[in-house]
């Protein structure tokens, strides 16, 4: 015993303080649990998994969709400064709180998933929990790499910088993985999820959700064969219901009372009430019923083009305001509901992936068969198998643009086509100019980590 400990005893005895040990026991706040004892029961593990879903909902509740959409050519913006203006101006910098904050949210979802996966050996952690965690981890990496790195195909071997792959709860200051590595990781995660997830799991991840995510991933990778296969699998074999007349289903449903299989949503971020609302970001930026004019609007040429076809039921999503004035604009009312669910993967997306992919593969019949349900539902007449492949592809792309206006698909499509060799210009700049990828937050800076190029475009 050190001499000063002896002194301590003298002092403490003199004080008559009852102290069994010199070690001071920490007093932990009542709602907190030390890491060592945090996961004791299956319920604890489930709650940890819920926390990963919670963060997933916090970046897919319109946040990533909007960041992507701002980089594309669907929107115009009401304002001249602010975080989202920076993104729209393709000059997001490392202090952009929206960009950095939403980036962090996805990695928090990943950390929680990693935490479950690391504990796979525990009895209380079921195989299904691990599969769900790997789905969430794969999905987050896919969405991160699509926004913070140049797209798949930007370099021939995809050796360009991607994002940091996080598959552990420890961290060190590391470099970015290549895009090839990130996609390989996402593929592995989603395939594991596909093989190990149940077909039915309420609002949570299912094998169908994994297949849908794989379809989206392969589509982005120009792997149209696999994209078509997975999309078709979901359409044909999944339990989801296609509403042949109403295209609004996936935006308006809310609450956890509905039977997921009754609708077209394959994987949904769910809002249960005003205080558990995962669509506020959308509504905050687009709402056409708010006191002031909406911050984000559809560009005039695009809005006019949609409304030009009077048969297209989706024209009802647009509200032309101040018609004829210099400040005429098209508001988007898809996201006006106080509370709504967000369909992250939907049958609509699967049909349109399948249509374009089959066409790319030269399969006219399947392409048309997958494109027409979407067109017919919108009130348009479909294509026929007699149409040229090029027409089918362009029509599928146009349908994707209309169906998903406001949801970010357009930007990823522009990058997909650009990286596939097409000449793509976005609001006057190349699809792969510097500002078309978001900047990382300042916290990522280290000697190992290459930030994205500065200055935007």
């Amino acid at each position: 015993m050190n001499w000063y400990k002896s002194l301590g005893w003298v002092g403490l005895i003199a004080l008559s303080t009852s102290c069994d040990s010199l070690f001071l026991e920490p007093e932990i706040p009542s709602d907190q649990i030390p890491s060592e004892t945090a996961i004791q029961t299956a319920e604890d593990a489930q709650n940890l998994l819920n926390a990963s879903y919670h963060e997933t909902a916090n970046y897919l509740g319109g946040q990533y969709q909007t960041l992507a959409e701002l980089l594309g050519d669907n929107l115009r913006i009401n304002g001249s400064s602010g975080n989202l203006v920076q993104v729209y101006n393709r000059a997001s910098d490392f202090f952009n709180g929206d960009v950095g904050g939403h980036y962090a949210t996805a990695y928090r979802a990943v950390y929680r998933a990693n935490d479950i996966i690391n504990r796979a050996d525990l009895d209380v952690v079921s195989d299904q929990m691990v599969a769900e965690a790997r789905f969430l981890r794969g999905l987050a990496h896919l969405e991160l790499v699509r926004l913070w790195a140049q797209p798949y195909g930007y370099s021939a071997d995809n050796s360009h910088d991607g994002i940091v792959i996080s598959n552990s709860t420890d961290y060190t200051l590391v470099s970015r993985n290549t895009v090839a590595e990130v996609y390989a990781f996402v593929e592995e995660e989603l395939q594991f999820a596909e093989a190990n997830l149940p077909a039915s799991n309420g609002f949570y991840a299912t094998s169908w959700a994994a297949k849908a995510a794989l379809a989206r991933m392969y589509f982005q990778m120009h792997d149209y064969a696999n994209a078509a296969t997975y999309a078709t699998d979901v359409i044909e074999n999944g339990p989801f219901t296609w509403n042949t007349t109403d295209p609004n289903e996936r935006y308006t449903l809310s609450g956890n009372s509905y039977d997921v299989t009754m609708y077209e949503n394959v994987f949904t971020v769910v809002s249960t009430s005003n205080i558990d609302n995962r669509s506020g970001f959308y509504r905050g930026n687009y709402n056409t019923e708010a006191a002031g004019p909406p911050f984000l609007r559809i560009t005039n040429p695009f809005g006019a083009a949609v409304l030009a076809d009077a048969n297209d039921g989706r024209g009802a999503w647009l509200e032309l305001t101040n018609e004829g004035d210099p400040n005429e604009f098209y508001g988007l009312n898809k996201f006006n509901s106080d509370v709504q669910n967000n369909g992250v993967f939907t049958l609509t997306e699967m049909y349109l992936i399948a249509a374009e992919s089959f066409a790319e593969e030269g399969n006219t019949a399947s392409a048309v068969a997958n494109l027409n349900p979407v067109m017919l539902r919108a009130g348009l007449s479909g294509l026929s198998t007699g149409d040229a492949l090029a027409t089918i592809i362009l029509t599928a792309q146009a349908q994707r643009r209309i169906e998903f206006m406001g949801e970010g698909h357009r930007t990823h499509d522009l990058k997909r086509l650009g990286s596939d060799g097409e000449t793509i210009s976005v609001r006057g700049s190349n699809w792969d100019c510097d500002g078309m990828v978001l900047q990382f937050p300042a916290s990522e800076q280290s000697d190992n980590f290459n930030m994205n190029p500065e200055g935007g475009c």
């Binding site: 400990k5 002194l7 002092g11 709650n47 001249s80 490392f94 962090a104 990695y107 928090r108 280290s446």
Partner: protein
Amino acid sequence: MRSFLVKAKALWMLVAFCGLSTAVLAQQTVTGTVTSATDGSTLPGVTVRVKGTGQGATTNLDGGYRVQVSGPEAVLVFSFVGFEAQEITVGARSVIDISLSEDVTALDEVVVVGYGVETKRELTGAIAKVDGSTITNTVTPSFEAALQGQAPGVQVIQGSGVAGSGSVIRIRGISSVSAGGDPLIVVDGIPITQDNFLTTNWQNGAFNNNPLASINPNDIESVEILKDAAAAGIYGSRGANGVILITTKRGKKGAPTFNFSTRFGISQPVARPEMLNASELLQLLQETWENDGNVGQPDLGSYGINVDWATADSISNATNGVGTDWWDLLTHNGFKQSYDLSMRQGTDLIKSYVGVSYSENGSYIIGNSLERLNARANLDIQPIQSLTIKLSTSFNRGVNNRQRVSYTGGLGDAMSTALPIYPVYEADGSTFWADGANPIRLRENFRGLSIDTRTINNLQVAFRPIEGLEINASGSYDYLDFSNEIWESAELLNNENIGDGQSVTDKRYVNNFNGNAFVQYTLPFMPEGHSLKAMVGGEYQNSVTKGREDLIVQHVSATPFEGGAVDSVVNRYRFIDNIVRQYSSAFARINYNYNQKYFLTLIGRADQSSNFGPSNQTAFMPSASAAWVLSEEGFLAGNPVLNFLKLRASYGILGNSDFAALQWLGRYRFADINNGNVGYNGQSLLEPQIIPNEDLRWETSANLDLGLELGLFDDRITAEAAYYRRVTRDVLMQVQLPQYSGFGSQFDNVGRVLNQGVDLTVTSRNLVGEFKWTTVFNLGRNYNEVLDIGGFSPDAVSGGTNDTRIIPGFPVGTNYLVPFSHVDPATGRPVYIDINGNPTFEYNEQRDRRAVGKVLPDATGGFTNTFNYKGFDLSALFVFTIGGNIYDSSLKRQTSVVTDWNLRRDVFDRWREPGDEAQYPKLSNDFAEFGNDKEWLNTDQWLFDASYVRLRNLSVGYNLPTSILDPIKIKSARLALSGTNLLTFTRYPGIDPEIARDFDSPTDRNMSQNITFLTPPQEKSYNVSLSINF
């Protein structure tokens, strides 16, 4: 007790009689009263000697004396331990009242050192002592602000002139980053609660609460500031940022004496901002409009300005172009008053000090004040010679009426969005205009109230069973109840359904227990000349902060705060996590000296803190120090110039563990849906909160101090100089993690910080005798450098809403900004310097920021001149700061970037047409013209030299003569006029160079002094005070 007094009086009369009887042959009788020049109290036991004779007397309990002298040529010599002796020629007088000045340089002066006292001669460490009277003589909102300029190396920045705002105190620089950098504050032996509870609470009006504001300055006997390892070592692991020991007044032996003090004063801002008036603003808006390529009248709406041009123009015209002077409407002459009554008495059995006090400190902001109510009783009971029981108890209540300031509105609006072209009322005069910022409407529809109730209690027992041995045990209890309420009207909340508005209440309760025991033994039978004293002890402290937040109540009727009818509780209290801080400590001190010439002190303290994990809970902090009184050596004895010379040196380790609790322990938060949490999809969550960091350990500082103390010409000039060097290792920082870690930040021991510098004090008694002039000069020079931050980027640690950084090679709190070069004469656009040194129109933070300034000063100090003549005294304290920068963070919106803000008159020096060489760019609402689509461009154009000199305190006092006072049974009375912050000399163009705005966190507090954002200026006050002893 009364009989004791009678006996004591009888004894003194006997002594006086004896003195009388030995002088029966003298021809002239002189009587009088001897008082203390410090507080006017009478001095019993003063020796009154007739020079050149063996005759004399001693003053009685009431300070009275009577001597016989031979004639007018006789000289009386008054002497008393601790006071300067004084000689007076009798002349024709038969009554000679005299006041003795305390002998401040006396080597026998007692200094409180922590777990004991030492004489100044014995000290081997760097301790600055400030008397209670110095503190009460400077009118400040809270006692700690009065320490400014009083001790070298002690930087005090008063928050602002807002009543209730606190000060930032830094001792010998700053070595902590995310752990608290404030000195440990110990009142009568107990480290008291000193947390700033109000941090990010926007609605409280943008200033932190001051936990020290409720302490009564009149109760303070002395303040000792422990600066080096030798001094602070006894507080070991908690002393790294220095220690401030506050000792309260205690009873003195003698008949009861009473003091009544009262003060009245007014408060004004030291300066007012120079904002545009209505006609100037309209003119500049027109220019902006045209600069941006428009023609005709500006569309004010496009700037976010909510009146049309015609209305604005009519408001301007109706007031000769002045418009609404919001500053004028929001400020007034604040009224201050204070009343303090205390009693001191003492017998052999019981000595007591009892005091009550009330003060109201109204600031220059209408509706803002701090009321303080205090009561204190300190009893010393000595039932037997060997036993002393000291009981100290105080009750303090501070009521702070808050107003929103700075970025939360009020006076902040007057400097930003409350435009001179906005009206106060709607055209019909019946209701407030509410289409834009209207701080008058805000004031009438908002109330903020924070109430501090605290009691500090201490029971101390000292037992001296045998000669040389003293056993001490003490138990203390410091309770602080802090309540903060804000109320907003239905109108302000734009909610017609809530009648009389809505209030939100937060509460904190701190139970802070401290117990210590120590044994001190002076070894007997030491060889001739050697003296050895040992002290060993232990201490345990347990502080638990509980809290509740966000009680939201909507009122249907009755006045808020008065418990009126309540319509509905919108939100019940949310209980916040308890914050538990525990320390368990053992300490020892050995004092050795040889012939009062060579001194050696060894200190060791071991502490355990609950803030660290099992492997790092205990830290041992040793220090060693020595002093050599050279003037006692033969070769200097009797030197006509140098009468005292002491060298001292110390080295030791000090620690700091004052940071957010339990950061080492990895943990999860259970967001239970059955306990009010939302969860996801109706399910509970288990959310990772803190990454475990079992390596987290004490922040330690290695301190070297070399000092020299000097007395010249019989102490007419005394000086103290010290060099210090402190290297702090394992600095606790809350570092931003890369977000791919899945966490935002983490506390870790990162890096090293250096502070080194010189402290200097010179006291010169330029004139002594009847006309006295004393000059005290002190200066603390500090050099601060971050040596290492473990490879993190400059953005890994930042000061909250303020904008400073930690960068190796630069000081803590470095301004890291894009450099501004000049305004381009051709285009009027600002030109920046890019990272390669080339001029650019582009504002690029990511590429071009660099270290361009620092918030820490090079030196701070004070300069006091005191004059005494007969009953008059005059004292002037100048304080100064040399070096460092002020970042005027709001100026970027008050000059060329035209929005819905008013502009400062500085913008008159702006570019207007090609060829203009101007300080500010052209006016524009197009942010891209300034190089980026951001509105807030942080450049060194807003960075200024922070140096200033300020006449902090000027006071003139007059001690009324006893000839007036005697008939009305008053022993002494002093009437004084004083003013604070009367003059300021600075090159800073903003309102006030003394800035400590609100802080979000300890990190912010350490890094972000001198950052201003619409911060209200300090107050200037004029006061009259009266102090009566009877």
